[in-house]
């Protein structure tokens, strides 16, 4: 074989040779061509060392935050934001109705509880109403986190019944994740409105995991299941959910007090 030209050597290095075997044999015998290839190799290897900036582990989330407001469907106000309604079709989705029901219960409960507190303690300021709203949120979110934790634990423990099973059906967990997803959006937005950034942040992370589960295939292979499990583990979401649940239970204890005792305490306080 005659000496390969530069293009042939580049193609050889790139794995695109028309006559690769021939060039391999030639290189074994020809020192000059070997050196020529080494020189090409040296330049490309040097270029390999040119670093790419690391955009950060949360880069995907940041991209989403930047582009979300520019996407076709825009948020149309606080009510839509709270209810997660986007477009007419959304109103007729059964799960959306369930979510609307959940938030309606939350709002009505907060309203009624607020009214009751006001009647019980004439002249009290808005802190009581805020405390009641917080209590309702604490209870509702606590239950939501409990249910989310259960789904995540079930997914983490799901496995083929025997070694021969090719796929694992996680459809039930997926449907529950979809329901939880709707609720989660409402609670996250409510937490943000209440100024509870830490809770909103945990709910935001939980939302991403629930999205992952809800958007995945219904039937997964053991390997796919393992990948999903690793994604859940990598985010440490189970741990965070447990920590927040515990905090919420503590908060619940400190906010739940009988109204009468609460009122007398206030009076005592005023007297003092």
């Amino acid at each position: 074989m005659k000496h390969p030209n530069e293009n042939e050597l580049i193609a050889y290095r790139e794995g695109e040779p028309a006559n690769g075997e021939e060039i391999t044999r030639h290189l074994a015998d020809c020192v000059n061509c070997r050196k020529e290839l080494e020189r090409i190799d040296a330049v490309l290897a040097a270029l390999d060392a040119l670093p790419v900036e690391d955009p950060g582990a949360d880069y995907g989330q940041r991209v989403w935050q930047q582009i979300a407001p520019q996407l076709g469907e825009k948020w149309t106000g606080w009510r839509d934001s709270l209810l997660g309604i986007r477009g007419v079709a959304g109103w007729f989705a059964p799960r959306r109705w369930a979510a609307i029901g959940a938030v309606a219960v939350l709002v009505v409960a907060a309203f009624v509880a607020g009214r009751m507190t006001k009647h019980a303690v004439p002249g009290s300021d808005t802190t009581d109403a805020a405390r009641v709203r917080e209590r309702v949120l604490v209870v509702a979110v606590g239950e939501h986190l409990g249910r989310s934790e259960m789904v995540l634990v079930e997914l983490s423990n799901a496995e083929p019944k025997d070694g021969k099973q090719q796929v694992v059906n996680i459809g039930a967990e997926q449907r529950r994740a979809e329901d939880l997803l709707q609720e989660n959006r409402l609670y996250r937005q409510t937490a943000l409105q209440e100024g509870d950034a830490a809770l909103a942040s945990t709910l935001d992370e939980l939302e991403r995991v629930l999205l992952d589960v809800a958007n995945g295939p219904k039937e997964v292979s053991p390997v796919q299941l393992e990948t999903l499990r690793k994604r859940i583990e990598a985010r440490g979401i189970l741990f965070k959910v447990r920590v927040v649940s515990k905090e919420l239970r503590e908060r619940q204890k400190s906010t739940v007090k009988p109204p009468a005792q609460n009122a007398s305490e206030k009076k005592e306080g005023k007297k003092a």
């Binding site: 580049i10 490309l44 290897a45 040119l50 990948t227």
Partner: protein, 215 residues
């Protein structure tokens, strides 16, 4: 290998479901796709544009365009490849636009004045060309960035996609709107230009290392 294949297939299946949901009105399903593919797009865009600012703009624009064109996306194909191609197309436009702006400013593309300051020992390759063995000082890095800047937008795209991203020639040809033969030639031209620009520094290093070993 089978596990990796399964994992890729899983991501593709999951992408297809997220695409369907987005098309049926669930905008947040698109979030899954954005979060999953942003890092890949950033790597490509950074190598094509050479800076973080432009790379971030390319990534955002690619996802925005992807969202707008999602109705045209055939769900049987791979969303990752599709949005990657949108990013490559936008990046090449961006690089061309920047070149035109630079040309208007008459900014010199090459700067040979610093050659004497280069210490070849710093860029010496070891017996095996492992990139981590190269001590990449700021000067060599600048030379490489300059060498990449001398490539045309098409050459840079071809080189980045082929050499760094490992794309098939047909895929690159799709982005360059060219045929396979012409695309291969574009890759060759890019490597030749880079070689002419960088070989003096790299081989100086090799020789210096060889002399050091003899002494």
């Amino acid at each position: 290998m089978t596990r990796m294949k399964d994992s890729v297939e899983s991501a593709v299946d999951s992408d297809a479901i997220a695409v369907e949901r987005t098309l049926s009105g669930d905008r947040d399903a698109y979030r899954v796709l954005v979060e999953r593919h942003s890092a890949n797009l950033f790597r490509l865009a950074y190598r094509m544009t050479g800076n973080r600012h432009d790379a971030e703009e390319v990534v955002q624009e690619a996802f925005l365009r992807g969202y707008q064109k999602l109705g045209q996306f055939a769900s049987r194909s791979n969303f990752g490849t599709w949005v990657y191609r949108i990013a490559a197309n936008y990046a090449i436009d961006r690089v061309r636009q920047k070149r035109r702006e630079d040309a208007r400013k008459e900014k010199p593309m090459r700067d040979d004045s610093g050659e004497q300051e280069l210490d070849p020992v710093n860029f010496v390759r070891d017996e095996k060309p492992l990139p981590e063995r190269l001590t990449l000082n700021a000067e060599l890095r600048r030379k490489m960035e300059q060498a990449l800047d001398t490539l045309t937008a098409a050459e840079r795209t071809a080189f980045v996609m082929r050499h760094w991203e490992g794309c098939a020639i047909e895929e690159i040809a799709g982005v360059l709107k060219s045929n396979s033969g012409a695309t291969k030639n574009t890759v060759f031209r890019a490597v030749q230009k880079l070689r002419r620009a960088l070989e003096p520094f790299v081989t100086k290093g090799m020789e210096a290392r060889a002399m050091g070993q003899q002494g």
